[in-house]
Protein backbone atom coordinates (compact mmCIF):
# COMPACT_ATOMS: atom_id res chain seq x y z
CA UNK A 1 0.00 0.00 0.00
CA UNK A 2 1.39 3.40 -0.93
CA UNK A 3 2.39 5.79 1.82
CA UNK A 4 2.49 9.15 0.11
CA UNK A 5 -0.94 9.17 -1.49
CA UNK A 6 -2.93 12.28 -2.48
CA UNK A 7 -5.44 11.50 0.25
CA UNK A 8 -2.71 11.36 2.87
CA UNK A 9 -1.16 14.56 1.52
CA UNK A 10 -4.52 16.24 1.83
CA UNK A 11 -4.96 14.92 5.38
CA UNK A 12 -1.48 16.17 6.24
CA UNK A 13 -2.26 19.63 4.89
CA UNK A 14 -5.55 19.85 6.77
CA UNK A 15 -3.88 18.65 9.97
CA UNK A 16 -1.26 21.40 9.76
CA UNK A 17 -3.98 23.98 9.09
CA UNK A 18 -5.92 22.80 12.16
CA UNK A 19 -2.82 23.08 14.34
CA UNK A 20 -1.59 26.55 13.49
CA UNK A 21 -3.04 29.92 14.42
CA UNK A 22 -2.30 32.39 11.64
CA UNK A 23 -2.48 35.86 13.18
CA UNK A 24 -3.79 37.53 10.06
CA UNK A 25 -7.41 36.52 9.54
CA UNK A 26 -8.77 39.46 7.53
CA UNK A 27 -12.08 37.85 6.61
CA UNK A 28 -12.95 36.69 10.11
CA UNK A 29 -14.93 38.67 12.68
CA UNK A 30 -13.73 38.81 16.28
CA UNK A 31 -16.16 36.14 17.55
CA UNK A 32 -15.42 33.79 14.71
CA UNK A 33 -11.69 34.31 15.18
CA UNK A 34 -11.95 33.47 18.86
CA UNK A 35 -13.91 30.35 18.08
CA UNK A 36 -11.32 29.32 15.54
CA UNK A 37 -8.52 30.12 17.97
CA UNK A 38 -10.14 27.89 20.57
CA UNK A 39 -10.44 25.06 18.06
CA UNK A 40 -6.76 25.41 17.18
CA UNK A 41 -5.88 25.39 20.87
CA UNK A 42 -7.80 22.18 21.35
CA UNK A 43 -5.90 20.48 18.53
CA UNK A 44 -2.63 21.79 19.90
CA UNK A 45 -3.39 20.41 23.36
CA UNK A 46 -4.13 17.01 21.86
CA UNK A 47 -0.74 17.02 20.12
CA UNK A 48 0.98 18.27 23.26
CA UNK A 49 -0.59 15.52 25.31
CA UNK A 50 0.59 12.83 22.90
CA UNK A 51 4.14 14.17 22.83
CA UNK A 52 4.43 14.48 26.60
CA UNK A 53 3.12 10.92 26.93
CA UNK A 54 6.16 9.70 25.03
CA UNK A 55 7.36 8.23 21.76
CA UNK A 56 4.77 5.48 21.45
CA UNK A 57 1.85 7.83 22.12
CA UNK A 58 3.23 10.35 19.62
CA UNK A 59 3.55 7.67 16.97
CA UNK A 60 -0.02 6.49 17.59
CA UNK A 61 -1.30 10.05 17.33
CA UNK A 62 0.52 10.61 14.04
CA UNK A 63 -0.70 7.33 12.59
CA UNK A 64 -4.24 8.35 13.43
CA UNK A 65 -4.09 11.83 11.89
CA UNK A 66 -2.48 10.43 8.74
CA UNK A 67 -4.83 7.45 8.42
CA UNK A 68 -1.92 5.04 8.83
CA UNK A 69 -3.25 2.99 11.73
CA UNK A 70 -2.92 -0.44 10.17
CA UNK A 71 -0.15 0.14 7.71
CA UNK A 72 3.34 -1.35 7.92
CA UNK A 73 5.92 1.27 7.06
CA UNK A 74 8.46 -0.04 4.56
CA UNK A 75 11.00 1.55 2.27
CA UNK A 76 11.84 4.30 4.75
CA UNK A 77 15.34 5.24 5.89
CA UNK A 78 16.26 4.34 9.45
CA UNK A 79 18.60 6.15 11.83
CA UNK A 80 21.97 4.53 12.62
CA UNK A 81 21.32 4.52 16.36
CA UNK A 82 19.27 6.12 19.09
CA UNK A 83 19.84 9.88 19.07
CA UNK A 84 20.09 12.16 22.06
CA UNK A 85 17.94 15.29 21.93
CA UNK A 86 21.04 17.34 21.19
CA UNK A 87 22.07 15.06 18.36
CA UNK A 88 18.60 15.17 16.91
CA UNK A 89 18.26 18.97 17.06
CA UNK A 90 21.76 19.71 15.75
CA UNK A 91 23.14 16.57 14.14
CA UNK A 92 26.91 16.65 14.26
CA UNK A 93 28.77 16.56 10.98
CA UNK A 94 29.68 12.90 11.43
CA UNK A 95 26.08 11.91 12.04
CA UNK A 96 24.88 13.75 8.94
CA UNK A 97 27.58 11.98 6.92
CA UNK A 98 26.60 8.64 8.43
CA UNK A 99 22.96 9.25 7.60
CA UNK A 100 23.53 10.69 4.15
CA UNK A 101 26.10 8.17 2.98
CA UNK A 102 24.50 5.25 4.76
CA UNK A 103 21.11 5.86 3.22
CA UNK A 104 22.70 6.14 -0.22
CA UNK A 105 23.92 2.61 0.25
CA UNK A 106 20.52 1.24 1.11
CA UNK A 107 18.63 1.73 -2.16
CA UNK A 108 16.72 -1.49 -1.73
CA UNK A 109 15.80 -0.93 1.87
CA UNK A 110 15.18 2.82 1.71
CA UNK A 111 13.66 2.97 -1.72
CA UNK A 112 11.27 5.77 -0.86
CA UNK A 113 14.18 8.10 -0.18
CA UNK A 114 14.39 10.12 -3.38
CA UNK A 115 14.88 13.84 -3.83
CA UNK A 116 11.26 14.08 -4.91
CA UNK A 117 10.04 12.56 -1.66
CA UNK A 118 12.70 14.20 0.46
CA UNK A 119 11.36 17.59 -0.61
CA UNK A 120 8.00 16.73 0.97
CA UNK A 121 7.36 17.37 4.67
CA UNK A 122 4.89 14.48 4.76
CA UNK A 123 7.67 12.04 3.85
CA UNK A 124 9.80 13.06 6.81
CA UNK A 125 6.81 13.00 9.16
CA UNK A 126 6.14 9.39 8.18
CA UNK A 127 9.84 8.66 8.78
CA UNK A 128 9.45 10.12 12.25
CA UNK A 129 6.65 7.67 12.99
CA UNK A 130 9.05 4.87 12.15
CA UNK A 131 11.83 6.31 14.31
CA UNK A 132 9.48 6.90 17.24
CA UNK A 133 8.23 3.32 17.09
CA UNK A 134 11.76 1.99 16.92
CA UNK A 135 12.78 4.05 19.96
CA UNK A 136 15.42 5.92 17.98
CA UNK A 137 14.45 9.30 19.40
CA UNK A 138 14.24 8.02 22.96
CA UNK A 139 11.07 7.69 24.95
CA UNK A 140 10.99 11.26 26.22
CA UNK A 141 10.44 13.19 23.02
CA UNK A 142 9.18 16.55 24.26
CA UNK A 143 12.67 18.11 24.33
CA UNK A 144 13.75 17.21 20.83
CA UNK A 145 10.38 17.65 19.12
CA UNK A 146 8.75 20.53 20.97
CA UNK A 147 11.02 22.21 23.48
CA UNK A 148 13.48 25.05 23.14
CA UNK A 149 14.37 28.61 24.05
CA UNK A 150 11.43 30.16 22.22
CA UNK A 151 9.05 28.06 24.30
CA UNK A 152 10.73 29.10 27.53
CA UNK A 153 10.18 32.74 26.60
CA UNK A 154 6.47 32.36 25.80
CA UNK A 155 4.12 35.11 27.00
CA UNK A 156 1.40 32.80 28.29
CA UNK A 157 0.04 29.26 27.96
CA UNK A 158 -1.62 29.96 24.62
CA UNK A 159 1.61 31.38 23.19
CA UNK A 160 3.62 28.50 24.62
CA UNK A 161 1.36 25.93 22.97
CA UNK A 162 1.62 27.74 19.65
CA UNK A 163 5.42 27.79 19.83
CA UNK A 164 5.61 24.14 20.86
CA UNK A 165 3.32 23.15 18.00
CA UNK A 166 5.30 25.09 15.44
CA UNK A 167 8.52 23.55 16.74
CA UNK A 168 7.02 20.09 16.35
CA UNK A 169 5.80 20.70 12.81
CA UNK A 170 9.05 22.29 11.66
CA UNK A 171 11.27 19.64 13.16
CA UNK A 172 9.30 16.61 12.02
CA UNK A 173 9.25 17.63 8.38
CA UNK A 174 8.56 21.29 7.89
CA UNK A 175 5.84 23.89 8.06
CA UNK A 176 5.21 24.89 4.45
CA UNK A 177 2.13 26.92 5.31
CA UNK A 178 4.29 29.42 7.18
CA UNK A 179 7.77 28.86 5.76
CA UNK A 180 7.08 27.65 2.23
CA UNK A 181 8.97 24.99 0.35
CA UNK A 182 12.25 25.90 2.03
CA UNK A 183 11.01 24.60 5.40
CA UNK A 184 11.68 20.93 4.69
CA UNK A 185 15.26 21.73 3.63
CA UNK A 186 15.96 24.02 6.52
CA UNK A 187 13.82 23.29 9.58
CA UNK A 188 13.70 19.50 9.84
CA UNK A 189 17.13 18.56 11.28
CA UNK A 190 17.39 15.11 9.72
CA UNK A 191 16.13 16.26 6.33
CA UNK A 192 18.50 19.20 6.46
CA UNK A 193 21.41 16.86 7.17
CA UNK A 194 20.49 14.60 4.27
CA UNK A 195 20.23 17.46 1.83
CA UNK A 196 23.51 18.98 3.06
CA UNK A 197 25.35 15.74 2.51
CA UNK A 198 23.72 15.37 -0.92
CA UNK A 199 24.86 18.85 -1.93
CA UNK A 200 28.34 18.11 -0.59
CA UNK A 201 28.62 14.94 -2.67
CA UNK A 202 27.43 16.79 -5.75
CA UNK A 203 29.90 19.60 -5.14
CA UNK A 204 32.78 17.13 -4.86
CA UNK A 205 31.78 15.60 -8.21
CA UNK A 206 31.38 18.85 -10.09
CA UNK A 207 34.04 21.09 -8.61
CA UNK A 208 36.86 19.91 -10.83
CA UNK A 209 38.43 17.90 -8.03
CA UNK A 210 39.13 21.06 -6.08
CA UNK A 211 37.11 20.01 -3.07
CA UNK A 212 36.25 16.75 -1.41
CA UNK A 213 32.91 15.76 0.04
CA UNK A 214 33.90 16.15 3.69
CA UNK A 215 35.33 19.63 3.18
CA UNK A 216 32.23 20.65 1.23
CA UNK A 217 29.99 19.21 3.90
CA UNK A 218 31.86 20.93 6.71
CA UNK A 219 31.51 24.28 4.98
CA UNK A 220 27.74 23.80 4.64
CA UNK A 221 27.39 22.56 8.20
CA UNK A 222 29.28 25.46 9.76
CA UNK A 223 26.49 28.04 9.64
CA UNK A 224 22.74 27.43 9.67
CA UNK A 225 22.17 30.97 8.35
CA UNK A 226 24.40 30.41 5.34
CA UNK A 227 22.76 27.03 4.62
CA UNK A 228 19.33 28.56 4.90
CA UNK A 229 20.29 31.36 2.51
CA UNK A 230 21.60 28.89 -0.06
CA UNK A 231 18.45 26.77 -0.06
CA UNK A 232 16.13 29.77 0.19
CA UNK A 233 17.65 31.28 -2.93
CA UNK A 234 17.56 27.96 -4.75
CA UNK A 235 13.89 27.40 -3.93
CA UNK A 236 12.50 30.90 -4.35
CA UNK A 237 14.57 33.42 -6.17
CA UNK A 238 17.69 32.30 -8.00
CA UNK A 239 16.86 28.84 -9.30
CA UNK A 240 19.77 29.00 -11.73
CA UNK A 241 22.12 28.24 -8.81
CA UNK A 242 20.70 24.72 -8.64
CA UNK A 243 22.85 23.67 -11.58
CA UNK A 244 25.40 21.24 -10.13
CA UNK A 245 28.48 23.19 -11.30
CA UNK A 246 27.12 26.52 -10.12
CA UNK A 247 26.22 25.20 -6.69
CA UNK A 248 29.61 23.47 -6.56
CA UNK A 249 31.30 26.80 -7.24
CA UNK A 250 29.35 28.43 -4.43
CA UNK A 251 30.23 25.64 -2.01
CA UNK A 252 33.89 25.61 -3.04
CA UNK A 253 34.06 29.38 -2.55
CA UNK A 254 32.35 28.98 0.82
CA UNK A 255 34.85 26.30 1.83
CA UNK A 256 37.87 28.43 0.99
CA UNK A 257 36.47 31.79 2.03
CA UNK A 258 36.54 31.43 5.79
CA UNK A 259 33.45 32.18 7.86
CA UNK A 260 30.85 33.51 5.48
CA UNK A 261 27.79 35.34 6.66
CA UNK A 262 24.39 34.99 5.08
CA UNK A 263 25.01 38.17 3.07
CA UNK A 264 28.09 36.73 1.44
CA UNK A 265 26.25 33.65 0.23
CA UNK A 266 23.57 35.96 -1.13
CA UNK A 267 26.14 38.13 -2.90
CA UNK A 268 27.89 35.13 -4.42
CA UNK A 269 24.63 33.59 -5.60
CA UNK A 270 23.41 36.88 -7.04
CA UNK A 271 26.67 37.26 -8.95
CA UNK A 272 26.15 33.84 -10.46
CA UNK A 273 22.55 34.65 -11.33
CA UNK A 274 23.51 37.96 -12.98
CA UNK A 275 26.13 36.19 -15.07
CA UNK A 276 23.55 33.57 -16.04
CA UNK A 277 21.36 36.21 -17.66
CA UNK A 278 23.85 36.49 -20.50
CA UNK A 279 25.62 33.13 -20.32
CA UNK A 280 24.77 29.54 -19.64
CA UNK A 281 26.92 28.86 -16.60
CA UNK A 282 27.14 25.25 -17.66
CA UNK A 283 29.58 26.38 -20.37
CA UNK A 284 31.66 28.73 -18.26
CA UNK A 285 35.10 27.29 -17.43
CA UNK A 286 35.34 26.16 -13.82
CA UNK A 287 38.11 28.54 -12.81
CA UNK A 288 36.18 31.52 -14.14
CA UNK A 289 32.94 30.45 -12.48
CA UNK A 290 34.62 29.84 -9.15
CA UNK A 291 36.54 33.11 -9.41
CA UNK A 292 33.36 35.10 -10.04
CA UNK A 293 31.46 33.87 -7.02
CA UNK A 294 34.45 33.85 -4.70
CA UNK A 295 35.38 37.41 -5.61
CA UNK A 296 31.92 38.82 -4.92
CA UNK A 297 31.77 37.23 -1.47
CA UNK A 298 35.28 38.42 -0.72
CA UNK A 299 34.47 41.97 -1.83
CA UNK A 300 31.52 42.08 0.49
CA UNK A 301 33.65 40.91 3.39
CA UNK A 302 36.26 43.57 2.67
CA UNK A 303 33.62 46.26 2.28
CA UNK A 304 32.13 45.43 5.63
Amino acid sequence: MKLLTPARAEAFGEWQVDLIWMKRQPHMGADEAEKKRAAVGSCQRELHSAVTDGAAATARYLRRVLFLEEQTLVGLPTLPRRLTPGEYLKPPLELEAEIGDGWCQQPNRANLLTPRNAARPLFWLVCHINWLEQGLLGDEVYSPLMGGEAVAGARDDRDRLEKETRNFLRRTGGLPRVRGNVSVLSDCPISRGWWRRRFARSAARHAGRTIDVDVAHRSLHRSQQVWEELVRLGVWRLTVINHDRTRAALIAALASGGDWRREQMAAAAQTAAREAIGRSLDQVPWAELYGLVAASASQLRQAS
Binding site: P6, E10, P115, A119, L185, T239, N242, H243, S280, D282
Partner: protein
Protein backbone atom coordinates in the same frame (compact mmCIF):
# COMPACT_ATOMS: atom_id res chain seq x y z
CA UNK B 1 21.10 39.08 -28.40
CA UNK B 2 20.55 42.15 -30.55
CA UNK B 3 19.91 40.54 -33.90
CA UNK B 4 18.74 42.85 -36.68
CA UNK B 5 16.44 40.38 -38.43
CA UNK B 6 16.71 36.97 -36.81
CA UNK B 7 13.77 35.71 -34.83
CA UNK B 8 13.49 32.72 -32.53
CA UNK B 9 10.57 30.73 -31.27
CA UNK B 10 9.97 27.38 -29.67
CA UNK B 11 7.21 24.85 -29.24
CA UNK B 12 7.30 22.69 -26.16
CA UNK B 13 4.93 19.78 -25.90
CA UNK B 14 4.98 18.55 -22.33
CA UNK B 15 4.17 14.91 -21.78
CA UNK B 16 4.50 12.63 -18.78
CA UNK B 17 8.12 12.70 -17.60
CA UNK B 18 9.52 14.91 -20.33
CA UNK B 19 8.92 17.14 -23.30
CA UNK B 20 9.28 17.32 -27.04
CA UNK B 21 11.01 20.57 -27.96
CA UNK B 22 11.06 22.18 -31.40
CA UNK B 23 13.13 25.32 -31.86
CA UNK B 24 12.40 27.61 -34.79
CA UNK B 25 14.77 30.16 -36.28
CA UNK B 26 13.80 32.62 -38.96
CA UNK B 27 16.10 34.92 -40.94
CA UNK B 28 18.88 33.65 -38.74
CA UNK B 29 21.51 32.40 -41.15
CA UNK B 30 24.30 33.57 -38.86
CA UNK B 31 23.01 31.50 -35.94
CA UNK B 32 22.32 28.52 -38.17
CA UNK B 33 25.88 28.72 -39.50
CA UNK B 34 27.24 28.69 -35.97
CA UNK B 35 25.19 25.63 -35.15
CA UNK B 36 26.29 23.86 -38.32
CA UNK B 37 29.91 24.64 -37.48
CA UNK B 38 29.51 23.19 -33.99
CA UNK B 39 29.95 26.55 -32.30
CA UNK B 40 26.39 26.83 -31.00
CA UNK B 41 23.60 24.51 -29.92
CA UNK B 42 19.89 24.54 -29.34
CA UNK B 43 19.31 24.36 -25.60
CA UNK B 44 16.66 23.59 -23.06
CA UNK B 45 17.21 24.21 -19.36
CA UNK B 46 15.11 22.21 -16.94
CA UNK B 47 14.69 23.54 -13.40
CA UNK B 48 12.73 22.28 -10.41
CA UNK B 49 13.13 24.66 -7.47
CA UNK B 50 11.41 22.40 -4.93
CA UNK B 51 14.04 19.68 -5.28
CA UNK B 52 16.84 22.13 -6.14
CA UNK B 53 17.31 20.39 -9.49
CA UNK B 54 18.60 22.01 -12.68
CA UNK B 55 20.16 20.70 -15.87
CA UNK B 56 20.62 21.74 -19.47
CA UNK B 57 20.23 19.72 -22.65
CA UNK B 58 22.11 20.79 -25.79
CA UNK B 59 21.54 19.51 -29.30
CA UNK B 60 22.45 20.43 -32.85
CA UNK B 61 19.03 19.28 -33.98
CA UNK B 62 16.27 21.84 -33.52
CA UNK B 63 13.82 19.14 -32.52
CA UNK B 64 14.61 16.84 -29.62
CA UNK B 65 13.18 15.08 -26.63
CA UNK B 66 14.06 15.90 -23.06
CA UNK B 67 13.40 13.43 -20.27
CA UNK B 68 13.74 14.36 -16.63
CA UNK B 69 14.39 11.83 -13.85
CA UNK B 70 11.04 11.41 -12.11
CA UNK B 71 12.57 10.75 -8.68
CA UNK B 72 14.57 13.97 -8.73
CA UNK B 73 11.86 16.46 -9.55
CA UNK B 74 8.62 17.67 -8.00
CA UNK B 75 5.36 18.41 -9.71
CA UNK B 76 6.23 21.79 -11.17
CA UNK B 77 9.17 22.15 -13.51
CA UNK B 78 10.30 25.20 -15.46
CA UNK B 79 11.64 24.92 -18.99
CA UNK B 80 13.88 27.62 -20.44
CA UNK B 81 14.67 27.29 -24.16
CA UNK B 82 17.28 29.07 -26.21
CA UNK B 83 20.35 28.90 -28.41
CA UNK B 84 23.74 29.00 -26.72
CA UNK B 85 27.31 29.40 -27.94
CA UNK B 86 29.43 26.39 -27.01
CA UNK B 87 32.70 28.01 -28.18
CA UNK B 88 34.03 31.55 -28.09
CA UNK B 89 32.58 33.04 -31.28
CA UNK B 90 32.77 36.26 -33.24
CA UNK B 91 29.36 37.55 -34.26
CA UNK B 92 29.15 39.51 -37.56
CA UNK B 93 28.31 43.13 -36.81
CA UNK B 94 26.20 43.33 -39.96
CA UNK B 95 23.74 40.86 -38.46
CA UNK B 96 23.40 42.84 -35.24
CA UNK B 97 21.62 46.07 -34.51
CA UNK B 98 23.43 49.37 -34.97
CA UNK B 99 24.37 49.31 -31.30
CA UNK B 100 27.20 47.05 -32.36
CA UNK B 101 29.77 48.81 -34.49
CA UNK B 102 32.37 46.09 -34.33
CA UNK B 103 31.93 42.37 -34.49
CA UNK B 104 31.82 41.28 -30.88
CA UNK B 105 33.52 38.19 -29.61
CA UNK B 106 31.18 36.46 -27.22
CA UNK B 107 32.43 33.83 -24.83
CA UNK B 108 31.46 30.22 -24.63
CA UNK B 109 28.06 29.97 -22.92
CA UNK B 110 26.67 33.18 -24.37
CA UNK B 111 22.92 33.06 -25.00
CA UNK B 112 22.41 33.84 -28.68
CA UNK B 113 18.65 33.56 -28.34
CA UNK B 114 16.29 32.99 -25.45
CA UNK B 115 12.65 31.93 -25.37
CA UNK B 116 9.89 32.39 -22.82
CA UNK B 117 9.82 30.22 -19.73
CA UNK B 118 7.41 27.30 -19.93
CA UNK B 119 6.09 25.13 -17.13
CA UNK B 120 5.92 21.37 -17.15
CA UNK B 121 2.36 20.72 -16.27
CA UNK B 122 0.89 18.40 -18.91
CA UNK B 123 -2.21 19.77 -20.56
CA UNK B 124 -4.44 17.21 -18.84
CA UNK B 125 -3.15 18.31 -15.45
CA UNK B 126 -4.01 21.91 -16.34
CA UNK B 127 -7.55 20.88 -17.25
CA UNK B 128 -8.61 18.69 -14.34
CA UNK B 129 -8.08 18.62 -10.62
CA UNK B 130 -9.08 15.63 -8.53
CA UNK B 131 -10.77 16.37 -5.20
CA UNK B 132 -11.93 14.22 -2.35
CA UNK B 133 -15.65 14.67 -1.72
CA UNK B 134 -16.99 13.22 1.50
CA UNK B 135 -20.56 13.90 0.39
CA UNK B 136 -20.38 11.44 -2.50
CA UNK B 137 -21.61 7.89 -1.99
CA UNK B 138 -19.07 5.10 -2.14
CA UNK B 139 -17.58 4.58 -5.60
CA UNK B 140 -19.07 7.74 -7.11
CA UNK B 141 -17.66 10.61 -9.13
CA UNK B 142 -18.98 13.92 -10.36
CA UNK B 143 -17.46 16.72 -12.43
CA UNK B 144 -18.03 20.44 -12.19
CA UNK B 145 -16.35 23.36 -13.88
CA UNK B 146 -14.17 25.38 -11.52
CA UNK B 147 -14.35 29.00 -12.63
CA UNK B 148 -12.31 30.40 -9.78
CA UNK B 149 -8.95 30.63 -11.53
CA UNK B 150 -7.57 32.61 -14.42
CA UNK B 151 -7.61 29.53 -16.61
CA UNK B 152 -10.54 27.13 -17.04
CA UNK B 153 -10.42 23.97 -15.02
CA UNK B 154 -12.70 21.07 -14.17
CA UNK B 155 -12.96 19.67 -10.65
CA UNK B 156 -13.36 15.90 -10.62
CA UNK B 157 -14.94 15.03 -7.29
CA UNK B 158 -14.30 11.50 -6.05
CA UNK B 159 -15.78 9.60 -3.14
CA UNK B 160 -13.29 9.05 -0.32
CA UNK B 161 -12.96 5.34 -1.03
CA UNK B 162 -11.93 6.10 -4.58
CA UNK B 163 -9.89 9.26 -4.13
CA UNK B 164 -6.95 7.42 -2.59
CA UNK B 165 -6.31 5.57 -5.85
CA UNK B 166 -6.32 8.49 -8.24
CA UNK B 167 -2.59 9.09 -8.29
CA UNK B 168 -1.86 5.56 -9.54
CA UNK B 169 -5.08 4.46 -11.24
CA UNK B 170 -4.88 5.60 -14.85
CA UNK B 171 -8.37 4.34 -15.68
CA UNK B 172 -9.73 6.52 -12.93
CA UNK B 173 -7.74 9.51 -14.18
CA UNK B 174 -9.02 8.99 -17.70
CA UNK B 175 -12.60 8.58 -16.52
CA UNK B 176 -12.33 12.00 -14.90
CA UNK B 177 -10.74 13.54 -17.97
CA UNK B 178 -13.40 12.12 -20.28
CA UNK B 179 -16.13 13.39 -17.97
CA UNK B 180 -14.53 16.84 -18.05
CA UNK B 181 -14.49 16.81 -21.83
CA UNK B 182 -18.16 15.86 -21.79
CA UNK B 183 -19.12 19.13 -20.13
CA UNK B 184 -16.44 21.24 -21.79
CA UNK B 185 -18.71 22.50 -24.60
CA UNK B 186 -20.96 24.12 -22.00
CA UNK B 187 -18.13 26.25 -20.64
CA UNK B 188 -17.93 29.94 -21.56
CA UNK B 189 -14.16 29.77 -21.10
CA UNK B 190 -13.89 27.50 -24.16
CA UNK B 191 -16.03 29.47 -26.54
CA UNK B 192 -14.46 30.84 -29.70
CA UNK B 193 -12.55 34.03 -29.04
CA UNK B 194 -11.67 33.04 -25.50
CA UNK B 195 -8.22 34.26 -24.47
CA UNK B 196 -7.62 31.20 -22.38
CA UNK B 197 -4.23 29.62 -22.96
CA UNK B 198 -5.56 26.22 -21.90
CA UNK B 199 -8.45 26.42 -24.34
CA UNK B 200 -6.01 27.34 -27.09
CA UNK B 201 -3.73 24.40 -26.26
CA UNK B 202 -6.65 21.96 -26.21
CA UNK B 203 -7.81 23.21 -29.58
CA UNK B 204 -4.29 22.87 -30.98
CA UNK B 205 -3.90 19.36 -29.63
CA UNK B 206 -7.20 18.25 -31.12
CA UNK B 207 -6.29 19.81 -34.45
CA UNK B 208 -2.96 17.98 -34.45
CA UNK B 209 -4.81 14.72 -33.82
CA UNK B 210 -7.42 15.39 -36.50
CA UNK B 211 -10.19 15.40 -33.90
CA UNK B 212 -13.04 17.93 -34.37
CA UNK B 213 -13.22 20.54 -31.64
CA UNK B 214 -16.30 20.97 -29.48
CA UNK B 215 -17.71 23.76 -31.60
CA UNK B 216 -17.08 22.16 -34.98
CA UNK B 217 -20.24 20.34 -35.89
CA UNK B 218 -22.56 18.10 -33.90
CA UNK B 219 -20.28 15.09 -33.45
CA UNK B 220 -18.47 16.11 -30.31
CA UNK B 221 -16.91 12.95 -28.89
CA UNK B 222 -15.57 13.60 -25.39
CA UNK B 223 -13.81 10.23 -25.16
CA UNK B 224 -12.00 10.68 -28.45
CA UNK B 225 -11.06 14.22 -27.53
CA UNK B 226 -9.82 13.24 -24.06
CA UNK B 227 -7.67 10.47 -25.46
CA UNK B 228 -6.19 12.88 -27.99
CA UNK B 229 -4.90 14.87 -25.02
CA UNK B 230 -3.90 11.89 -22.87
CA UNK B 231 -3.73 8.35 -24.19
CA UNK B 232 -5.38 5.60 -22.21
CA UNK B 233 -2.05 3.84 -21.80
CA UNK B 234 0.68 6.39 -21.11
CA UNK B 235 3.54 3.97 -21.64
CA UNK B 236 2.61 3.31 -25.23
CA UNK B 237 2.60 6.91 -26.41
CA UNK B 238 2.02 9.70 -23.93
CA UNK B 239 5.18 9.16 -21.94
CA UNK B 240 8.59 9.82 -23.36
CA UNK B 241 11.00 6.93 -23.21
CA UNK B 242 14.35 7.36 -21.52
CA UNK B 243 16.99 7.79 -24.21
CA UNK B 244 19.59 5.07 -24.46
Amino acid sequence: MDWKRASYGVEIDVRRGGAQVTHRLRDAAEIENLIAAGDARFALEVRCPVTQYACIRLDADPSFQVVWPPDEVGDEIFLLPGVVAVEDVVLPAAALTDLWRDSPCVPKGWWLAKGDVHTSQPLAASLVEYRRDADLPSGCMRVREDGSGEEPKFAVHLAPDVFGRVETDRDLQMAGLIAAFAILPMSDRFREGSDSRVAFLVRERLADAGVPAWDEGDDWDPARAATAVERLHAASDGALEEEA
